[in-house]
Amino acid sequence: MKPVLECVEVKKHFAVGRRSRLHAVDDVSFDIAAGESVGLVGESGCGKSTLVRLVTRMLDPSAGDILYRGRNIGFIPARSFAGTQFRPKIQMVFQDPSDSLNPRYTAFEAIAEPLSRLAGVQEAKELRLQVEEAARRVGLPEELLPRYPHQLSGGQKARVGIARAIVLMPDLLVLDEPTAALDVSVQATILKLLAQLKRELGMSYLFVSHDLNVVRMLCDRVIVMYLGRIVEQGPAQQVFDAPAHPYTRALINAIPAVGGRPEAREVLAGEPRSPIDPDPRVCRFFGRCPRQVDRCRQEEPVLREVKPGHWAACHFA
């Protein structure tokens, strides 16, 4: 059974000035199996937003292949992707529900749109049936369907966004920080909903989040990105319990723990390296790494399998 999504050495470089290039995504390779939930973590500037837009085909890669169930969709220009048969198969839930819902569309219209545009459902009765079904699945009360976004709470808007994304039963659902804008009490409800939907509908998830605790809960595997590269990937529990890359360690270390921490934490010093024309011989994490040595400046580490299914790009892993 082919993986739902495969990225093979995907690169995205942006031109900066006349000669320089910003390496937003550099040689990223990973795949997502059917029904698998993969977390994507990394901080601002790591390239995860760009990668998300490449995977959802809103952006074209500079190099590399993106495959959906073995079919190369990277070649299809982003501009024309909306008209292909693949569009309904890869959908996305956005971070800010207030920003991602058209203020002039009711909840019903927002959920109905993919049905009418991509599934060819035009008949009003059929549309209503399917929209109500999606609303039911996400726990959105039917009486809220005629409402506009400004008449809905944060949690309700989040549900509309999810309903809209699943109404076409996609194979891959990309979730871009879906609970970041929500209060913690609402977040818990939405996370449970997402876990339930995954079970019921058998979708694969690409779950982007900065909250490592949430990723650990919801994902089977996790990918850690830094400055455009994957620095570590593996089973979620294993990566969090025994991180192999110093950056992953620093990331886990930085999460505040409920109940407090007795000893002072070690913070990352230094500034991140520039993503513009990076030196190919130097490790991207050099300059902030607590373990760096000369070798790190002369030879960029490649992703190696340090344990079965667990990869890291570090000379010391």
Binding site: A82, G83, E113
Partner: protein, 286 residues
């Protein structure tokens, strides 16, 4: 719009109107002018074109509230009937300007790149001229007709709408719901037309209202200097021109009343723009 939302809009309108009496006054005046434009010929007490030299240059009196001009025509009647012409010119010009300018500006703001560059050059070229002089030039070159006034006014207003539309679309271009629209299967063009543009309309409505005042003034200005509207047609600008020469000899009413009404009309539209903005701006909503 469903019932619940229509209700809240009406409530909001009522709130805005009552909170700010000036806005209410503006709406009332606007309605008055519209009625005047629609029903002018039937309301006017005298035939605006009928000259009566026996009654010429008579000051305001019980029979002629605004007095008569050099040909004995009732000034009040002429002002009332002129409303239709002035409004007609302004509305046509602004509508044309808006339709074309908003479309061009939206494309420029959404697609960027070459579209933006070319459309930008068009706007820059028009703006390089002193706009009124350009309008004069267009009317002078193409001929002294009402249609050409409309054309000239529409052209000189294009950059305004292009710029506003471009800016508003640009701001919304990367909004989440635009990306969501693409995910829902909309092509770029459809996303622009169906999702972005309707959200851009409210701020543009405000601009349109403000622009109307300017368009009336522009049309009146062209007529004042003798371009466009020709006698004996009644138009506020041309009436002010006709009355200008008589101010020195003491017949002040011939220029004053058309001028005052013109000023009131422009003022109304400006206030209306403010009021519309209050209504349209979702931030001032509860």
């Amino acid at each position: 719009m469903n019932a619940a939302s229509a209700n809240s809009t009406l409530r909001h309108i009522r709130y805005v109107a009552t909170e700010n009496p000036v806005t209410l006054a503006a709406f009332a005046l606007f309605t008055g002018f519209v009625l005047l434009a629609l029903f002018g010929p039937w309301i006017a007490p005298y035939d605006p074109l009928a000259s009566n030299t026996a009654q010429s240059l008579k000051p305001p009196s019980a029979q002629h509230w605004f007095g008569t001009d050099s040909l004995g025509r009732d000034i009040l009647s002429r002002i009332i009937v002129a409303a239709r012409l002035d409004f007609g010119i302004a509305v046509s010009a602004v509508a044309a300007s808006f339709a074309i300018g908003a479309a061009l500006g939206s494309l420029a703001g959404f697609y960027g790149g070459w579209a933006d560059r070319i459309i930008g050059r068009i706007a820059d070229t028009i703006m390089a001229f002193p706009l009124f002089v350009l309008a004069m030039g267009i009317v002078a070159a193409l001929g002294n007709t009402v249609f050409n006034i409309i054309l000239a006014t529409a052209i000189i207003n294009l950059p305004f709408y292009i710029r506003v539309a471009r800016a508003e679309v640009n701001v919304r271009r990367n909004a989440g719901y635009v990306e969501a629209a693409r995910l829902a299967g909309n092509s770029d063009l459809r996303t622009l037309a169906v999702h972005v543009f309707p959200n851009v309309l409210p701020p543009m409505m405000v601009q349109i209202s403000l622009n109307m005042g300017w368009a009336i003034l522009n049309a009146a200005g062209l007529s004042f200097i003798g371009l466009g509207v020709r006698p004996p047609q009644a138009e506020w600008g041309i009436m002010v021109a006709e009355g200008a020469t008589y101010i020195i000899s003491g017949e002040w009413w011939i220029a004053l009343f058309p001028g005052a009404v013109l000023m009131l009309a422009v003022f109304t539209f400006n206030l209306l723009g403010d009021g519309l903005r209050d209504i349209m701006d979702p931030r001032t909503r509860t």
